[in-house]
């Protein structure tokens, strides 16, 4: 019995080593199986995605207890949202005359359309939650302290961006929920001091309903076709691009600031 198992194990190993040594495999991945130190380091530093990480990390930093994995999950949800979002874009046209019908088609006519839409929606809500939890973890561990101050500031930018992405997406289904949530939200912009037509001091700059900050957001004075187009472009192009750049800077700085913070002598007692 033991003999047989060992035989099988060595068959697996021989096959594996042959594949790993083949020209085809080595043209893609140039190191051996990462079960010893040299290859474990090479697998990280020779792969563009994995080399986001250093080859070795602080022992406490890989603990779920320390990071709650919330930064990583936020990034993962952003990725899920990009993939499902691109798929939804194949079916959705930001035209007030057909956007709502496109949503109905996604639900009833497109194969897996409903699943895509549900995943996009719930991942968006989840991302708001994971980003807030991530921020809370970083606060509790005091990880915003020097030299990581500025990465915290970038993080605050990412938090705002996450909220804006969620908010601009909310209008796109063009149903009652969408239209009125965005009406409520953009009405607040109208109250901006100096820049909004209903805000204090707006007279000083000659601001009216037709040139204030709400008008700039909506491309008009009501939530209509121009607003839908603006929110669509912001949601699908501008904000994700800014988000990707901010995330690149955020991850880069985690590395440059010396990797995950800590270990700390004393963690806060709650």
């Amino acid at each position: 019995m033991g003999q047989q198992l060992r035989g099988r194990a060595s068959l697996w190993r021989r096959t594996r080593d042959r594949v790993l040594a083949s020209q085809l495999w080595r043209s893609v991945i140039r190191h051996g199986y990462p079960d010893e130190n040299r290859n474990r380091i090479l697998v990280i530093i020779s792969n563009i995605f994995l080399h986001l990480h250093p080859a070795r990390v602080k022992r406490h930093g890989v603990k779920l207890r320390y990071t709650w994995c919330m930064g990583g999950l936020s990034a993962f949800l952003f990725f899920v949202l990009t993939v499902t979002g691109v798929l939804l874009m194949f079916y959705y046209v930001p035209d007030t005359r057909r956007a709502y019908q496109d949503m109905k088609d996604l639900e009833h006519a497109v194969l897996f359309g409903k699943l895509m839409r549900n995943m996009h929606r719930w991942a968006a809500h989840a991302m708001v939650v994971t980003v807030i939890l991530h921020m809370t973890r970083v606060f509790l561990t005091g990880s915003y302290r020097p030299p990581r101050e500025f990465n915290w500031v970038i993080g605050v930018g990412l938090l705002v961006l996450t909220l804006l992405l969620s908010f601009t997406g909310y209008l796109l289904p063009w149903d009652q929920l969408a239209m009125w949530a965005i009406t409520v939200g953009t009405n607040m912009a109208e109250a901006t001091p100096f820049l909004g037509a209903a805000g204090p001091f707006h007279e000083l700059l000659g601001i009216t309903k037709h040139n204030d900050i709400r008008f700039a957001l909506l491309g008009g004075t009501i939530v209509d076709q121009n607003a839908l187009l603006r929110f669509y472009v912001l949601h699908c192009i501008a904000l994700p691009l800014i988000g990707a750049v901010l995330m690149a800077v955020h991850f880069w700085r985690v590395r440059k600031d010396g990797g995950i913070s800590g270990p700390h002598g004393k963690l806060p007692k709650l």
Binding site: R59, G142, R145, E149, S166, Q176, G185, P200, G265
Partner: protein
């Protein structure tokens, strides 16, 4: 930092220790998201109709705290000044924190967690306790029964409002300076004033809510240009 550096020599290989954990987290998250998406459908109501205003019209949940503040503050405060100050205040945290640990961090922790709790309490109220005309409905109450509109509200007379605000701000800035000298010394004058200023503004939010609920006060300060 030096302690951090000294102990940070305790390293493990990223492969497999970190990569496998990440893989597990991603798989778990994917499975949960998938199951939720199979079971629960994203909402889709009737076609947008500019002539039919739902009552109440609610913002997305993460902005409902701000919408709830509209009950107690004018829109430029609830929708612009408060979110603006929250963002600035969050961004300023690393530059305000004196970098202490243990029990000396209690102040920082309470302020952060208190603010976070306030944010979510307001969201909870906005989501579950507000019905037609933004009147208060307990989650189990029937929202088709329309409640009478809110009672009339009043503004404090300037003879009370101005002294009250000056005493609140002046006292709030001075008292900790005199009582916790040590706290002041650790922060220095600029940081102390910024921290206390932001903190007093944050505490003013629940205070104003209480004033409104208990005494129906709409404005504490009235000026020709704006009211607070």
């Amino acid at each position: 930092m030096s302690a951090e550096n000294a102990r940070s020599r305790d390293l493990v290989h990223t492969w497999p220790h970190l990569v496998y954990r990440e893989l597990c987290a991603l798989l778990a998250a994917s499975v949960v998201l998938w199951i939720v998406s199979l079971l629960v459908d994203a909402p889709l109501e009737e076609l947008a109709n500019a002539t039919l205003t739902p009552n109440p019209a609610k913002a997305p949940w993460y902005f409902l705290g701000l919408q709830e503040l509209l009950v107690y503050f004018d829109p430029w405060i609830a929708g612009v000044a408060i979110p603006g100050l929250i963002i600035l205040g969050l961004a300023a945290i690393p530059y305000l924190d004196p970098g202490e640990d243990g029990s000396r961090r209690r102040f920082a922790l309470s302020v952060y967690l208190g603010g976070l709790a306030l944010w979510f309490v307001l969201i909870f109220i906005g989501t579950y306790c507000r019905g037609p005309n933004w009147a208060w409905y307990w989650p189990w109450e029937d929202q088709t029964v329309i409640k009478p509109t809110l009672p009339l509200t009043r503004a404090l007379s300037p003879a009370i409002g101005w002294p009250a605000v000056l005493i609140y701000l002046g006292g709030g800035l001075l008292a900790p300076r005199l009582i916790w000298r040590d706290f002041f010394a650790r922060l220095g004058i600029v940081r102390y004033l910024t921290v206390m200023g932001l903190l007093l503004l944050m505490i003013a939010v629940p205070l104003k809510i209480a004033l409104r609920l208990a005494f129906n006060v709409k404005y504490v300060l009235t000026t020709p240009w704006f009211n607070v």
